[in-house]
């Protein structure tokens, strides 16, 4: 149970990586942008890959009537997400410490993981909803009003995960280092549960 608890602590502490590294990365490619243009999505706001990328993305998007990218204080998510992730990391560490010193049931580890998964799915859902709004809720006075083959307004929503052609750009949207750390951390908490569970069973046997 001792090593399982330590793994639980490490796993949940890995969430803290999100306070340093970005969660998601969206990269745009076009012939005129040989070195790409893009942004990193951090827990607490957006950051351009290069110094002025956000401004330049806004500059491009104004032709097709997209709103400006949100500043940190323009979306509740950027103040709530850090609290949720910070809280979950602390909660996981406390559960791990309790496992270490009070030998609570490894089922607590699983419970934490399930809660984390639910929150993760909610987060993804919210992120996707924002992207749909951002990519389709366009200025009616847009300079260029593009339509698809059926005459419907074109959606400029970047993919949630993967690569997509949008006009002259190819957009790549993938998790970034912070998300990988979180994913690996969550995997570790599962390992902690599995190891703890095996130990409990062997003790009972």
């Amino acid at each position: 149970m001792k090593s399982a608890s330590i793994i639980m602590i490490i796993g949940s502490a890995l969430l803290l990586g999100l306070f340093v590294f970005p969660l998601w990365s969206i990269e745009l490619e076009a012939p005129q942008y040989p070195s790409g243009i893009g942004m990193n999505i951090h827990l607490d706001g957006l950051q351009g890959k290069e110094k002025h990328d956000l401004q330049n993305i806004d500059g491009l998007n104004h032709y097709i009537g997209m709103r400006k990218l949100p500043k940190a204080d323009e979306m509740w998510e950027f103040s709530t997400f850090p609290k949720v992730i910070g809280g979950m990391a602390i909660l996981g560490i406390i559960i791990g410490l309790l496992g270490l010193f009070k030998s609570i049931s490894p089922k607590w580890f699983l419970a934490w993981l399930i809660l984390m998964c639910v929150l993760g799915i909610l987060g993804m859902y919210d992120f996707n909803a924002w992207m749909i709004d951002y990519g389709t809720n366009l200025d009616p006075k847009a300079i260029m009003k593009m339509t698809d083959a059926d005459g419907n307004p074109l959606s400029y929503k970047p993919p949630l995960f993967g690569t997509k052609h949008i006009l002259n750009f190819v957009a790549h949207s993938y998790p970034s280092i912070g998300a990988y750390m979180m994913g690996f951390g969550m995997f570790l908490t599962f390992v902690a549960f599995w190891m703890g569970n095996k130990k409990v069973k062997s003790l009972k046997a």
Partner: protein, 651 residues
């Protein structure tokens, strides 16, 4: 684990791929026999290996080319007005062309030289001289813009310039046309002994700022070219001179009578010491010093007065003459600093002097004569060797860093490769036609990049498709990596390149600026956002601070301007991305258009002469809606009371 595993796998694959890539490129460059076409071919999207900076001669500017392709990359305006960017027309850059003679819109640019550290090119700045109205310019190799121009008083024909000492301590400027110093009204025929040939020494500070430290007031011969000592001869400067006859008319005959002219050897460290100890005296001399500030995007011109003049005879053991056959032109020092090559342009031999022998001759006071009190060393005791009968009309020599020298011959139209020390001729290749200077990247420094050599020719004739009587000049690129020089290609060059400087591209390209930070723009009339755009009247002056961004001006409708006003259009480009300039021009402007880089502010004056509604527009095809990037200025009668009004989108 899955994601992390994939991630790790991805990293491993990447490393593998990069390794493969390296292997491939190694085996490619190892291929022995590539054709000439392959050697100059730079595939689409690939970069050249070297930058080459060609002086424009009478264009007054520098053109930048890539080597080995010979593709022209840019023209940098230096001493001449340049409507392409508005240099010399915009209010910010007009002061750059100010001189003690007033605004001089043109210059004759000759010898570019790149700054050095420990005798090696460091790629910070490039300097270039102006021959006609003596000046030296410093160009930043981050922005490729002229940042500073200093005028040289009391000089005339600033040809022996702008050569850099090996830690960029000093740049020199000679006087090719001896003149009265100080200038005065006197009969030309009384020139002998009366005229002078001052040599100016300009110091370079760590931030690049130039300062005219002193002038060595030499006898009135024509100081033609110069080279600083390198390595062991660091601390010395060598100047060739012609017309030691001091003739003042029909120079082609009368200045060619003496069997020998002189190389002046100057121990500049001694002279600097002498000045530091209070030597020399301040004499009259008015000169402009023009400095461009990257933060305000504005140049200021300061008129300065007085310069320290030094009588060379009074500085013990600092200035000597070395005899050299027949009207020398080029003066070059090999990378070790031991050999000084003088090219007597009417001689059939090349004279090579030994620095050590020069020092010994000075030590032994082995003087054969004196010229106006300056000791003349003996030719026999300073000569290291003679390259016998290499060609006709030797001009300039550069080095490959492998013990070989390459000399141009104007009359026989060829480059000759010879060996330092043995003076043996190794190879000769024709040039097309009548070569002046040649350039090996780094070829005048301690560490030449001995791979390519460019010959700059004075005569073009039939080398390209004919373009009427006036032709661009012609350059030839040679591969000098082997035993024999191999002619690779011909390419035209702009103006009259006298000399060029080359440097490995990687020493510059990474630090090349992409745009100016708008937040650092300190121009007093910058509008750093559309909300800061203003139109204000101050008597007959109207100042318009306008912004530019894809694809509109703000404001784009302006009223309240009157006939007879002086309208200052201060244009700020709000873009913060690489290669998104906007231009500005307005009908009837007596200036030029201006091309404004991202983050920059430039000002152009417009003096409306007629009532009406006059359009302005962006001159650079900046975006898909570039054609829409336009606006109007309403001009009312001089006595009208149309109020100042400016809008964007009627707001």
């Amino acid at each position: 684990m899955n994601t992390i595993g994939k991630y790790l796998l991805g990293v491993a694959a990447l490393i593998l791929m990069t390794n493969c890539g390296n292997n491939n490129s190694n085996s490619n460059s190892g291929a022995m026999s590539s054709s000439k076409a392959e050697k100059v071919y730079v595939a689409p999207g690939e970069h050249d290996e070297y930058y080459a900076f060609f002086s424009g001669g009478y264009s007054g500017n520098i053109t930048v080319a890539g080597l080995p392709s010979g593709r022209m990359l840019k023209e940098i305006p230096v001493f001449s007005q340049f409507p392409t960017s508005g240099y010399g027309y915009s209010e910010e850059t007009k002061p750059m062309l100010n001189t003690s003679f007033g605004f001089v819109p043109w210059g004759d640019a000759h010898h570019p030289d790149i700054s050095q550290t420990n005798g090696e090119l460091d790629g910070r700045w490039i300097f270039i001289n102006e021959n006609n109205t003596p000046r030296i310019a410093r160009i930043s190799l981050e922005t490729f813009e002229t940042e500073e121009i200093i005028e040289l008083p009391n000089s005339a024909g600033n040809h022996a310039s702008s050569f850099v000492t090996e830690n960029t301590e000093y740049i020199v400027a000679g006087t090719r046309f001896a003149v009265p110093n100080p200038q005065r009204d006197m009969p030309i025929s009384e020139m002998k002994g009366q005229f002078k040939g001052p040599l100016s020494f300009v110091s370079i500070a760590d931030n690049g700022r130039m300062n005219l430290e002193f002038q060595l007031n030499m006898p009135g011969f024509n100081y033609d070219l110069a080279h600083p000592g390198r390595n062991k001869s660091h601390g010395w400067f060598f100047f060739t001179s012609y017309n030691t006859e001091e003739a003042n008319t029909l120079m082609e005959v009368n200045a060619s009578q003496n069997d020998k002219d002189y190389i002046a050897a100057v121990n500049w460290k001694k002279v600097v010491e002498y000045v530091k100890n209070g030597g020399g005296k301040k004499v009259a001399g008015t000169y402009a010093h023009n400095v461009y500030d990257e933060k305000t995007h504005t140049a200021t011109s300061t008129m300065k007065e007085g310069v320290i003049s030094i009588n060379p005879v009074e500085v013990e053991g600092a200035v000597f003459y070395i005899p050299i056959p027949k009207s020398p032109h080029g003066c070059d020092v090999d990378p070790s600093g031991e050999y000084i090559i003088g090219s007597g342009k009417l001689s059939t031999d090349l004279s090579v002097y030994s620095f050590e022998k020069v020092l010994k001759a000075i030590e032994n006071k082995d003087f054969v004569a004196d010229a106006y009190g300056i000791p003349v060393l003996s030719y026999e005791n300073t000569i290291a060797g003679v390259v016998k009968q290499p060609g006709l009309g030797p001009l300039h020599t550069e080095f490959d860093g492998k013990g070989n020298a390459y000399t141009t011959f104007f009359i026989s139209s060829e480059v000759v490769k010879w060996k330092l020390g043995t003076w043996e001729i190794l190879d000769r290749q024709p040039t097309f036609y009548s070569v002046g200077h040649l350039m090996i990247p780094g070829g005048n420094s301690r560490k030449p990049f001995g791979k390519y050599m460019v010959a700059m020719n004075k005569i073009t004739k039939d080398r390209y498709l004919p373009t009427g009587p006036e032709l661009e000049h012609s350059a030839q690129l040679y591969d000098i990596s082997g035993d024999k020089m191999e002619l690779l290609s011909d390419f035209p060059t702009h103006g009259e390149p006298h000399y060029a400087a080359g440097i490995r591209a990687d020493l510059i390209k990474e630090k090349s600026k992409k745009y100016y930070e708008l937040s650092e723009n300190e121009h007093p009339y910058a509008a750093k956002s559309e909300s800061e755009a203003t139109v204000t009247r101050n008597g007959k002056e109207v100042h318009i601070s306008m912004t530019m961004i894809r694809s509109h001006f703000s404001p784009d409708n302006i009223e309240g301007v009157k006939v007879g006003d002086k309208v200052y259009l201060h244009m700020t480009n709000l873009e913060q991305d690489f290669d998104v300039p906007h231009g500005f021009s307005i009908i009837g402007a007596n200036t030029s258009e201006i091309l404004v880089m991202p983050g920059q502010t430039k000002t152009i004056i417009w003096e409306p002469k007629r009532e009406g509604v006059w359009p302005f527009y962006c001159t650079d095809f900046c975006s898909a809606l570039h054609q829409e990037m336009q606006g109007y200025i309403r001009v009312s009668a001089a006595n009208s009371n149309t109020p100042i009004k400016y809008t964007l989108d009627d707001e």
